[in-house]
């Protein structure tokens, strides 16, 4: 073997180094590659950022309960939040608006409801007598009028609600209305529990015998018992029994949502803040509903019905009065005998007897004011025996001339006066047939004939003063009697179908001229004819002055008078001339 020379040593060293390097490469190549990659990852910030971003969510999730992480992040998050708020406030507004909007609306609505209720009550009672009394009370007590009104119209108002831990008596949550007088609620809670325990120990013994309510002046305290908590409410006024259900529901809900917190309660009530809305829902109130004002239409209908009822009542009363008056009138009416008078509720029945000469009942009914169609009347004929009816009946049947008078003496019909013979004869025959007349007497009747009447007429003269055609008052006194006789004559003539002509004949004395006398005779005759004709002497009689004095002046008496010449002739024949 040859020792290696010194000059060959560098070559040897170089070769060994290369070998070692090669050997290392052969042995550690994979690790080296990994190391290089790791070095590259560590040195490359971009690559590291990518890797951290992948790991960060998982890392934060793992450390979610770490207070250190929270403490470290809080200032950064706050800073970021404020920066973001400054840069784009609208984005924050948009984000929280859906959450805040309903809450704000709810708060405003509650405030408005409260205000409206107060206003309504105040306005409603402002002008009433009651309102005036309350105004005085408000003035004397110093309370605002609106509050006084609310207190008086209040049925009940839950003013406070206490949620109390059952065992410790510690207050878990408390809510109260704005107007409630709240003393130290924690001490009240403790004392309430003490009193409840006292009552339970003294009078109870079983759980269901716990104190459930007590009353203090105008307040009532209701206590709803739960497994771990008690709900006590302070009520002004009288709440309905159904409100117990509200309290029980609330307590049940709280027990459900706060079950763990109630069991593990150690004096920290902060976790019960979330029960506040439940308790606030218990702060209910109810006021007297305003008196229901009836609909104007119903009022009008009611008034109309009342008016109708009054009118009907008045009408019934008035008809009743009229009916009674009519019945009285019919009963008192001569010639009527009322046998039936019945009122069938506005329909009437009348029946009775009626003398033909009596007043017609129909006219009495018409005059009563009752409606004729509501009255049914039946009248049977009969002869009334009253004297006036017997006389009327006699006159109707006998038809006596004006010169005859009929009277009734008991049951005897007595006639007097003058009458023609044929009437007297007929009357004597008919009178016994007059109902009510037992006997007829005509001794006082003087019978007359036509000749007798003519004679009576022609016997009369009307005297005149000299050269006068005016009838003086003494002579005028003869005229009525003359007229009466003329009428009797006319009556007789008419019955015997004859006509009468009465000629008035004027006369003068010897003094005066012929012409003057002729005129005077005529005017005197005309004056008397006129005087007789004024009252009428009958349809069968004709008064005339015609030709009398002209044709036969020589036959006239030489007296200042008017005389009469009567001629009778059959009806329809020409008037007979004077003989």
């Amino acid at each position: 073997m040859v020792e290696p020379s010194s000059k060959n040593m560098p070559n040897l060293t170089t070769d060994m180094s290369e070998d070692l390097s090669e050997l290392r490469n052969l042995l550690l190549a994979p690790e080296q590659t990994q190391l290089d990659r790791l070095q590259e990852r560590l040195d490359d910030p971009v690559l590291r950022t990518h890797e951290v971003s992948r790991l960060l969510p998982g890392a934060l999730t793992l450390q979610k309960d770490d207070p250190v992480l929270t403490a470290v992040l809080t200032p950064h998050v706050e800073q970021a939040f404020f920066t973001s708020l400054r840069r784009s406030p609208q984005a924050i507004v948009d984000a929280i608006a859906p959450i805040m909007g309903p809450a704000i609306r709810q708060a405003i609505r509650q405030a408005l409801q409260s205000l409206t209720q107060s206003l309504n009550q105040t306005i409603e009672h402002s002008f009433s007598l009651k309102g005036f009394r309350w105004r005085i009370e408000a003035w004397t007590t110093g309370r605002p009028f609106a509050e006084t009104v609310l207190l008086h119209t209040l049925r009940y108002r839950v003013e406070q609600a206490f949620l109390i831990h059952r065992d410790t008596g510690l207050l878990l949550q408390h809510v109260a209305t704005e107007t409630a007088i709240v003393r130290d609620q924690e001490m009240v809670s403790g004392m309430l529990t003490a009193i409840r325990n006292f009552v339970h120990d003294s009078f109870g013994g079983q759980r269901e015998r716990d104190l459930s309510s007590f009353q203090v002046g105008e307040f009532t305290v209701w206590i709803q018992q739960g497994t771990n908590a008690i709900l006590a409410v302070v009520i002004r006024g009288t709440a309905p029994e159904t409100f117990h259900d509200v309290l029980q529901d609330t307590l049940d809900r709280i027990h459900l949502t706060q079950a763990d917190a109630l069991v593990s309660f150690n004096g920290d009530a902060s976790s019960f803040a979330s029960t506040q809305p439940n308790l606030e829902a218990c702060l209910q109130s109810q006021y007297e509903a305003p008196a229901q004002k009836p609909s104007p239409v119903l009022v009008a209908i009611g008034l109309l019905l009342l008016l109708g009822l009054l009118l009907w009542g008045w009408g019934s009363y008035r008809d009743g009065q009229r009916w009674d008056t009519l019945v009285d009138r019919l009963k008192s009416e001569p010639g009527l005998v009322l046998t039936t008078a019945q009122d069938h509720g506005g329909r009437y029945d009348l029946a009775g007897l009626r003398d033909p000469l009596a007043t017609d009942p129909t006219s009495l009914i018409a005059a009563s004011g009752l409606q004729a169609d509501r009255i049914h009347s039946t009248w049977s004929p009969y002869y009334a025996m009253d004297p006036q009816f017997i006389l009327s009946r006699a006159r109707a049947l006998l038809q006596p001339p004006d010169t005859v008078t009929l009277i009734l003496e008991g049951e005897i019909l007595v006639a007097s006066g003058t009458a023609q013979e044929d009437w007297a004869h007929e009357a004597r025959r008919m009178a016994p047939f007059v109902p009510g007349v037992l006997r007829y007497e005509d001794k006082k009747v003087q019978t007359v004939s036509m000749a007798h009447l003519i004679e009576s007429i022609e016997h009369v003269t009307i005297q005149f003063a000299s050269n006068s055609s005016a009838i003086d008052p003494v002579e005028a006194g003869k005229i009525p009697a003359l007229i009466s006789v003329l009428r009797d004559l006319d009556n007789l003539a008419a019955r015997s179908h004859q006509q009468v002509t009465v000629e008035c004949r004027g006369s003068v004395d010897a003094a005066g001229s012929e012409l003057t006398n002729r005129i005077l005779r005529k005017t005197r005759a005309q004056a008397v004819c006129s005087a007789l004709g004024e009252s009428g002497v009958g349809s069968a009689t004709t008064l005339t002055t015609e030709s009398a004095s002209i044709r036969r002046p020589e036959n006239q008496a030489t007296t200042r008078s008017v005389g009469f010449a009567v001629t009778v002739h059959p009806s329809g024949s020409a008037k007979a001339g004077h003989p």
Partner: protein, 166 residues
């Protein structure tokens, strides 16, 4: 944080006087004779945290040592009050302690020997108290009249209650 504390002790040992020294009262003392308890409140600051102590001041009754169990229920701690001038009140307090422990288990409590302002006429000697201290009792000497140890009594108990809660 709210805690219920009961004040226990024999008749006229000064429970109510201690409480009244400590709190502003709201309810009438007449509740004592009517329902046997009044409830008072005191807010303390313990380690930066407000603690509200609801003090149930129970009416003392030496003769029968009767207490209403329902009043004790839910208590986080209690205070036993002894009148230093009457030895028998210590025995009453010991009896009460046993009763409460039987009902509520081992919960924080403290004992205060009242009337330290007239210590020269005390009947209770240190030996008896030392024995209790050795059992782990927290004992204060205080006076409702001068206010001595009243604040420390309540704040010490409040501290213990909080520490126990944590």
């Amino acid at each position: 944080m709210h805690k219920k504390i009961c004040m226990l002790g024999g008749f006229a040992v000064g429970k109510t006087s201690l409480v009244r020294r400590f709190v502003t009262n709201l309810f009438s003392e007449e509740y004592h004779t009517s329902i046997g308890v009044t409830v008072e409140k005191k807010i303390l600051s313990v380690a930066g945290e407000n603690v509200t102590l609801m003090l149930w001041d129970l009416y003392g009754d030496d003769e029968f040592q009767r207490i209403r169990e329902s009043y004790l229920r839910g208590s986080s701690g209690y205070i036993l009050v002894v009148d230093g001038t009457r030895k028998e009140t210590l025995a009453t307090a010991l009896g009460l302690q046993r009763t409460v422990e039987g009902l509520l288990g081992s919960i924080p409590f403290a004992l205060i020997v009242n009337k330290s302002d007239v210590r020269d006429v005390w009947e209770i000697d240190d030996a008896a108290l030392s024995a209790l201290r050795q059992q782990g009792w927290t004992i204060f000497f205080g006076s409702a009249k001068t206010g001595e140890a009243v604040e420390s009594l309540f704040s010490t108990l409040a501290h213990r209650l909080l520490n126990q809660a944590m």
